[in-house]
């Protein structure tokens, strides 16, 4: 067990997979010489050479398409798209090719393709570089999407993604790269798409993922000091979603709070909410609540940017409201 930064855990996972399987290779902008924008491929060019760690021109649809083709022929490409915002340029390769080919070929072509994408709102990268587009990919059948929130999950889930024969998007949060956490390389990984209870609680269930999982845990600590025990479920995967873990928890707490960094309107939380009420309607003691980002392009100004996404206080307030505790006397 060692303490690693999130990027180091990903780097370690890449290193092991490249070492263990000759068919694994990685490509993308600045992955080789520069070592990756967030250092995830650092040192790999020297170790594995330019055939397996390959810089590409700024041409997302092309190099992602190259990954699709390589996967069809039996290689295990790991494509890095510098941020999820640039994936908009690679939509045809991802949506029309990677997600469709295994189905349209009747399973004749596998698609062992991994696409890594940093995303989420970092610090003042502007509206075009601060999008959370996971919901777009969730709406594409045929893709799997994982959203590791800890170095351990980053390590496990990237390795599992590379070994999978399905196209998998690994969405890494830009503010998590320099978070430190324990990584046990000998521990047996939980199933790729299984949710994890980050904090147990009896009063309400908070369903969240990626960086918001850490925000929710901070909120849960504060709520605990007020006597509200909030369970925090980190989904770890957005497609498929581990509904069973969610339903089990909500059936115990009868209260459900969804926290997402995505925009509220038609965001990921909308899907969680809709499906959970189908499963848990008779277990709900209050309407499911969502804490989400504001529905607007992210402002560049730092204070305004922070105001658009959920913070700990928003989660605490929403939890209090959900528990019917926010009705103090206001004069």
């Amino acid at each position: 067990m060692t303490d690693l930064l999130y990027w180091q855990a990903l780097n370690r996972a890449m290193d092991i997979e490249l070492a263990e399987d000759d068919s694994v290779f990685t490509l993308g902008e600045d992955v080789a010489l520069y070592g990756g924008t967030y250092r995830v491929t650092e040192g790999l060019l020297a170790k594995y050479g330019e055939w397996r760690v390959r810089d590409t021109p700024i041409s997302e649809n092309t190099f992602t398409g190259l990954g699709v083709g390589a996967a069809m022929l039996g290689l295990r490409p790991v494509v890095e798209i510098m941020t999820i915002n640039f994936a908009l340029l690679a939509m045809d390769a991802i949506v029309n090719m990677a997600a469709k080919i295994p189905f349209m070929s009747g399973g004749q072509f596998p698609m062992p393709l991994t696409i890594r994408m940093p995303g989420g709102i970092a610090r003042q990268l502007g509206a075009q570089h601060s999008q959370r587009l996971e919901v777009m990919f969730m709406n594409v059948p045929g893709l799997r999407i994982v959203v590791p929130s800890t170095p351990q999950d980053a390590y496990w889930q990237l390795r599992q993604a590379i070994r999978s024969d399905d196209p998998i998007l690994v969405l890494e949060h830009e503010l998590l790269y320099f978070q430190k956490g324990a990584v046990d390389e000998t521990a047996i990984a939980p199933p790729l798409h299984q949710a994890q209870i980050r904090r147990a609680g009896r009063d309400l269930t908070c369903i969240t993922y990626s960086r918001m999982s850490t925000v929710a845990q901070e909120a849960a600590a504060e709520l605990a000091s007020e006597g509200i025990e909030m369970e925090v479920i980190d989904l770890r995967s957005l497609s498929p979603i581990d509904w069973e873990s969610c339903v089990q928890s909500v059936s115990r707490t009868h209260h459900c709070l969804i926290v997402e960094e995505d925009c509220r309107f038609a965001g990921t939380g909308a899907e969680f909410c809709a499906t959970l009420q189908e499963f848990c309607f008779y277990q709900l003691d209050a309407p499911i609540q969502r804490v989400a980002a504001l529905d607007l392009p992210t402002p560049f100004n730092g204070a305004l940017e922070a105001a658009t996404i959920p913070a700990k206080e928003n989660v605490v307030q929403a939890a209090r409201k959900l528990m019917g505790l926010n009705q103090g006397v206001s004069q």
Binding site: F281, Y282, Q283, L284, D285, A286, G324, Q327, V329, Q331
Partner: protein, 412 residues
């Protein structure tokens, strides 16, 4: 300046208060400390005092309605001109009835205090209130007091889980009172499940629902709370004549003498001054005797503090003051709460030769004193909390009390 006058919080448990009267009218000059109104709490009537000099301005909260604490009940203003700003200020004294008829848009959701809505309406174009509305008396059937902050339209209801739970528990959810947000949640269903069921009146004769007085409601609450106490009764016959004679000779009230006898006997066995709590046995350092008094309108239990240690003369003075407060309905919670032992005396009813009393929450025993039987002896029945007091303790208690009644030379 216009400062709101709030419904005061007069005790820890007070959630609502009921104005029994306004002593001042809108436009009256008031001085700091003046009693503006009288408010009835759990058991007592207390004054709402002016917190500054000024003039009383409306709208004033209605009398005889439960009003949540900290709710605005009226205003203090700087100048008499400001008090005239209210459209109804002309017909002085009528405000109370007028605002008891909130011009709410939907009759159903008007649980919120009328004032909350009214104060908004008053600020703008104030049209004279329809006179018809102002003479309609306040209905006695008032809605529940603690109400939701009325934000947005209320969807009807109860949560799916509350309904499922009610179905499982066999509870008719239409009889479950809503929670603070106006909705029925699981907690309300559970509360209803553990509470005794209301009688189903639909099959009986026609009826009206009248709101119980605060005092009656408080007694009912306390009696339900006492149901959780596993109690037993033990009785003995004693001649009370020696104590009666002695108290007469010493010019003390017999009730006081009896309370004193109990206090001295309680002091000899700490368990009689102990109460069972979830945290452990609460052993009290002072014997406070609560004495049940029939006010005609209900039951109240003024408390003689430290009744074992203090001189009888001091207790007698306390007792006189307490009885005076009982007569004027001005007992405050400190006067009637927190006794560690209770005495209930029905001796003035010669037909009643035996009864037993219910151990109130917070005490471990209560002594019931009836009228003497034909043989001249009186049955004393002690009800005890068996978690604290066992049968033999209770028997010894009565023995020791009997000796004190036999030989009351201790009474000074």
């Amino acid at each position: 300046m216009k400062e709101p006058i709030l419904m005061p919080v007069l005790s820890d448990t007070m959630q609502t208060g009921r104005l029994t009267r306004w002593n001042k009218s809108v436009g009256d000059p008031v001085h700091k400390g003046d009693a503006l109104a009288e408010v009835e709490t759990d058991k007592a009537v207390m004054d709402v005092e002016a917190f500054a000099d000024g003039y009383l301005a409306g709208p004033l909260a209605p009398v005889d309605q439960d009003i949540p604490v900290r709710q605005t009940i009226g205003y203090l203003v700087d100048s008499p001109a400001l008090t005239k700003a209210q459209p109804s200020a002309a017909d002085d004294g009528k405000e109370t009835t007028e605002i008891s008829q909130p011009p709410s848009t939907n009759g159903a959701g008007s649980n919120a205090s009328p004032l909350a809505k009214e104060s908004k309406d008053h600020s703008g174009a104030a049209s004279p209130a329809p006179p018809a509305a102002s003479v309609v008396p306040t209905s006695e059937v008032t809605p529940s007091a603690v109400s939701a902050p009325s934000e947005g339209a209320d969807l009807s209801g109860s949560s799916p889980y509350a309904r499922a739970l009610a179905a499982d528990l066999g509870i008719d959810i239409s009889h479950v009172p809503a929670g603070p947000d106006g909705k029925i949640h699981a907690s309300q269903v559970i509360a209803a499940a553990v509470q005794p069921q209301d009688a189903d009146l639909r099959l009986g004769p026609p009826f009206l629902i009248r709101k119980p007085s605060s005092l009656r409601a408080a007694v009912a609450r306390n009696m339900v709370a006492s149901l959780s106490i596993p109690s037993f009764q033990i009785s003995a016959d004693f001649a009370l004549q020696p104590l009666q004679a002695r108290s007469k000779a010493q010019k003390r009230s017999f009730t006081l003498a009896l309370a004193r006898a109990c206090a001295l006997t309680v002091a000899e066995d700490p368990y009689f001054n102990t109460v069972w709590t979830a945290k452990g046995l609460a052993v009290r350092s002072r014997v406070d005797i609560g004495i049940a008094v029939d006010t005609g309108a209900g039951l109240i239990t003024p408390v003689l503090r430290d009744a074992a240690e203090r001189p009888t003369a001091e207790l007698a003075e306390d007792w006189r003051i307490l009885l005076d407060k009982v007569k004027t309905g001005r007992l405050v919670p400190e006067d009637y709460q927190g006794a560690s032992f209770y005495v209930s005396n029905l001796g003035i009813f010669p037909e009643i030769t035996q009864f037993d009393a219910i151990v109130p929450v917070g005490a471990s025993a209560i002594l019931a004193v009836s009228a003497p039987s034909d043989n001249g002896k009186t049955v004393l029945t002690l009800s005890c909390d068996h978690r604290v007091i066992f049968g033999a303790d209770a028997a010894r208690f009565l023995q020791r009390l009997g000796q004190r009644l036999q030989d009351p030379s201790w009474l000074s």
